[in-house]
Symmetry: D4
Subunit: 253 residues, 8 copies
């Protein structure tokens, strides 16, 4: 995934980038201080997430500042999550941003082409879980994955889920998103033989306790291959799914 | 009622009743008119629970005493739940008791013949839930119901559950028993169109938190027709299922 | 309850509906895709709830779309729960909708006549529990049940509850709704010999913890025949009560 | 209640005790150090609880030491709570101790005669609550109160409770002890017009959560006049009830 | 406390009230139905709380209706708790109501003269606890008690509490009100030899968890004579304190 | 499908099929079309978990029976988790079982050779976490993975963790196992660019609350690529890690 | 003390003091001997907190009143925490107040010069924790300490924290502020050899549960030298850190 | 640093270093520059904790091995906490170990002389808290501090605490240890002007919930200068207190 640095090194290797220029780029990377928050560009080397900005709690000015820093470092595609529509409007004045309303995400630049092992299925129990699902789906797409959306297939209507059995069985990773009793993860986990990332949502009322019920339920899944991320953490699930879907790139494969 | 109070007031008026005594009588008035003594007898006829003894925390002597009292009142069949095997041995010396080890239940006398609306299905997620299931099943049988047992059909292996679709769809009531994530109740609730009684069990470890996870999960079931009883309360589920399965007997039908 | 399909089959049986027409209706049923949420009409076969729309979190347009789909499939009576008054106004412009303010429910079409085994009693501990109770009552009525309302009969004033002893004892199902300490379910459970569906409410303050106290209390009921649904889940209780009150229809009885 | 000090002062007043002797007694009182735990005899002046020893976690030697210190200070009656039977045996070798097995309490010396305002009713929901009830009852008796025991009158069988309506209505204080759903306190609170002290117990299983359910339930009682002490705290309830039942002694009345 | 009924009986006893008139009053009492909530006037006989209206969640019209019913029954003094200032304005147009802003209470009619055993001390840990304290104080005053207010004497500044030692020691009942760590109840409980009613408040932040921390802390008080009511339940504490402070009226004393 | 339904309707039409029977057939329709019997076989091939036996709660006889069945089906390698040493002794009499004491696992047959994408690192915060870690490691090995163990590298001594930076950075998957504050997962998640599976353990005391603290902590990890399995669930983590480490085998690669 | 009591006893003896009065005096004895009025003054000198006003829940008038009182007593520097900006405006009209927006603190008068043992480092995991951090930093500065701010150094990017290793190692006290998983305190605690004060914040979502997760995590820190204050309690941490940083002033140093 | 990277780039340029290898080197860069190997040594000098062995969960052999290693490194005094008496016996055969039974601690070698700023007061609410207190006290002594023990001074008997006012006021650090309601920390925090370390204990029953109540209570302390360590963590409190009591040694003082 460390495409930027890898490209730089390839440039050094084939002579198209001078050592001095490469040194300059690498020197600038680690700790570019933007005042309010150190944008950690070196982190890209390690995790490849430099192109994602977590928008929650940031002012439009702060986000613009971070985008500018990234752009100056040559970052082409930038994903901004938890982005309010009004803030998106402001950013759009300076950058070519596509806003995905339901996912509350903005994307600057072109989406990369999907080059993962297979397809990532994003499934939800109900329609209220869709915003979390879209955050997961858009994140995965922004990281170069093909995503199949299967929404509103909660276990209370099993035939709806089972009518998508083919897509589920062909998935390389499944993200199972559900509030309420969170049973979707267990049921899918028992059907497929690929990793299942469970995302509890805060959807529900009463004994749902803001996602606690779904979280506990998913932690207790008796299906093998299931793991859980934080309540409503669509980004985390999409990111991890994308990472697993690119495992073949590890170690020169 | 007016007459009683009038007499009382006359007593106050002529000094034969003290104000304090009159106050006390007036206090008790609302309940005296209820004939609550009558309630007790009525209850015995109605609920049919006189023949069940909750064995937990009772000494063999205490249980024997209750059995003796029941027998003298003409009770033919008696179900004793949460009965330790050693205690069963002691009771067996005096009464013809059949002990069901897994259910930890003893039955004195003949089981009634099944005369309910239909069959009660008792389903469990795993094999560890079977003791709770057997308590439910034996209770329902002792109350005159035919019981179909479908064990170890947890949602992590959906095909196991679906291979019993016929029995589930023909059931008049289903008791869904599961620990861990407790998803069984929701899945069954979505498949059948009869009442589903969910029993969370304390089976599991870690985030199962002694049945809390399953309980919350079941409370949040998005399937209609599902209600929940206490953790490990097999008796309560069996009793309620039997009651529902005899609804046709209500109102002279 | 599967009246629609049953009627269709009866039509086929008596020749008033051609096989081709029946096939067409059945084909359309399972997965009519309305874009945002698959209205699962096939589900009606299994659960008979197709005529209920859960209004929470749906836009007026979405609800209108679902209503339209149902109407085109011949659904006469439609119950919409958790329906905001403003949304009801919008729907009323196109359909003949009766809005029940306290229950926050709308009904399109005629209420079915009550044809259950007996009467369903809906009882509340306080006046603040009435919205949940009305949701339960209207749901049960919409499903063809006669409902008796007994409100504000909390256990702190036992004589109020006991003055309704006759109605309670004649009930075929009781829905006991209470916040705070939730004791109503246990007390009623000990008085009657029919199923009691307990609904904890989020009414209360302090240690009521948004219904958790009532929920735990009701789970622990020592009365037999009591089961519990989610906090504030009036619909679920009304639906289940209606199902139990029609148990005589099971298996051709 | 400050009988010892009052007697001392009366002795000073009538000349039977010299000022020097009185001074010596008072000097010794406040902080008599027994090495492991300061027995706070001065506390008797303030709270009148000096004659109670909380036996839990104390060795027989420690208890004997405290008893000895109390006896040397002229204490006639001593109540030891949470006292293991074996420890009672050891103490009995040196002091005339009566052991109450169910209450797990030992009493040295004569019980005082009952001189309170009225009777204290101790009521329990079930038979398993009796040990806590007996601790409360014995404590109240040891503090000079007449106690009426009404056990196993849980709300699931309301007629049992109502058959004791006379005793409840005549009580000056009621101690309501229950595990499970803890509804007993609310129901009694609604029946009587005297203070009700609620004691949740750890009796129950599953969602009883070691008394938490009963505690929350009792905290939420909608009946006026109800307050709550710690789970299983029979002593605390008995002590407080005794204090209230002697309110007439306040301010020279 | 049952002053109304007692007065009625006294009238009957001394001939100033005819038996017929008394009968008429008593007949009207039990179940006067106001439509939305049965005002339980008979309850006055049992608990003496008929003159208190819990204002939370009631419309001005509802409150006016209840007040009217009470007035027609001869009730002179009426306390309305949890009363919004705007609602108080509306009621004031028809009845002579005094509004106590901090306590959020309204009083119609004259306060009764204080005739209890002694004084009730209402103490708070901080200034933020004062609204709850005022609700307790006004309630106690409305029930005929003299109240001493000692505010902002939290345990973090012990000398402030100790400077009121005289008032505390002379109290017949103490109401200890505190949020945060709730230690006030234990400290006062160790200083005085009268009943202490602890009221946890929802004051605080972070680990105060809306009063849960104070509630648990107070439940665990090691001081004898302490009992606890619900979080923020000033009325309950004031009512119970008033009841205890009138214990001398029990049984003809 | 149309043909089946057409035939059914023809039967209804000509009277050879009763309406009730037709209704039942229509109910089961959505699932019959799935060929779910097929699912079962498929699963055995796919998930590779048929060779794992969860030993907890099974008698030696039960385990022996399962092993026998597997062996007869040609299974060469069998992993038994949560296996008591005594039970291992019994099995060893009939099969060639290697017992790994710390992991509480038994292996029958040869371990497969490691053929995954890369190495799986199993890291623990302390030495008390090692049993869970060994269960994870042995499981991964039994599924054909090379495992690197890095134990006792908790974040309180960061240098210990950092001295293994090479192994961590080369890992294809990391399993981070920790009790107490569970910070290990976040720290490792920030260092590596591969999936991290976090396993909270029940190690710790006091506010560790049997693993709840570590579980919540890990759920909140701000590092991307981290997901969580149940408390002490070493097997689940090892299984999932092995699955991810074989992602290259997906889709014919 | 003996003299006072002797005089009292003489009064009792000669009848000039009633027994009741003597009893009351003896009750208050243990506290009167303390001269607790003295305690208060002493406190002002010692704790140096007289100059801090906790602004939350206070009206501008109340704050102005307190400031006025302090100023009249010669207090030069006053710190007001949890101060709304509008309130600051009002105060600024009368006093020379500097408002620190992020810390929500106002300072009247000159900041004291830093005279502590060393520097206090205030570190945060993320940028959202900064308001709490600034409250801590400003408090420490107002109490005469030099503060080094290291913000946004959460453990998910360890190199950011490690790049400040020098400042951390030179600190005399570190305040570690973090929400989410709260791991910062443990990691810093393992790096430095000075006291670490951990402040959990309510930053985060889902399983962060308003700071509960961070709080539990920090309580479980395996690093020695770490202790915890309440969620979001920046003031408490700053105050304690300042106190520790002036330990050299103890005992005449 | 530039030189290293330049060399690396030159290698890439001339083909002697592969791009993959260069990527890995660049990944590890941020940590390699830290000289973290140095950190370890530094730590030993700094924290002084090398001489403490946490004995819980370690076999006698493991402890002996660690002791041997320390001794060979010249460590003279070694403190072993959570040490079972039998294990102490085994160690005593080889090393001169003093076992402190109540603290469950063993000390090998001479205790250092006390050289701190002042005295550390260890105070407990009850006698049951003493084991935790002794662990704290012995730890502090082993780290060169003078310790004053004030046990059984819980807030329910305030005069006991106040009789130690002198010792408290002279303390340089106070460790306040209490279970139940944990009020001791707040009360002491309000009396003294030095840091107070609060240790909740698991002492208590019922709503004490194994120390949770005391923990929450202490977290909410309104006294400034109070911070909290884990439940029953006597060692942690003793260690931190010792560190604070040696603050004068910081920065060459």
């Amino acid at each position: 995934m460390n495409n930027d640095i890898r490209k730089l090194l390839e440039g050094v290797s084939d002579g198209s980038v001078s050592i001095e220029d490469a040194l300059l780029v690498l020197k600038k990377k680690p700790f570019e201080d933007l005042g309010y928050a150190k944008v950690d560009l070196h982190r890209q080397v390690r995790q490849g997430v430099a192109e994602v900005i977590y928008g929650a709690g940031k002012t439009p000015e702060q986000i613009l500042g971070i985008v500018k820093g990234m752009k100056e470092n040559g970052q082409e595609t930038i994903l901004i999550t938890r982005l309010a529509e009004e803030t998106a409007e402001i950013i759009r004045k300076e950058y070519d941003l596509t806003y995905q309303k339901e996912a509350r995400c903005g994307i600057i630049g072109e989406l990369p082409k999907a080059d993962g092992i297979g397809k990532i299925v994003v499934a939800t129990g109900g329609t209220s879980d869709i915003p979390v699902a879209e955050e997961a789906a858009v994140t995965a797409e922004a990281l170069g994955n093909e995503v199949v959306r299967i929404y509103d297939v909660g276990v209370a209507g099993l035939h709806r889920l089972l009518s998508h059995l083919d897509e589920l069985m062909e998935a390389s990773v499944v993200i199972a998103i559900a509030g309420m009793e969170g049973a979707l993860a267990s049921v899918i986990g028992g059907l497929v033989d690929c990793p299942v990332i469970a995302v509890p949502t805060s959807v529900g009322y009463g004994a749902a306790f803001d996602g606690l019920s779904a979280l506990l339920s998913m932690m207790n899944s008796c299906s093998s291959g299931v793991s859980v991320v934080n309540i409503d953490n669509g980004f985390g699930a999409g990111y991890l799914a994308g990472m697993i879907n690119h495992m073949n790139e590890k170690k020169g494969e």
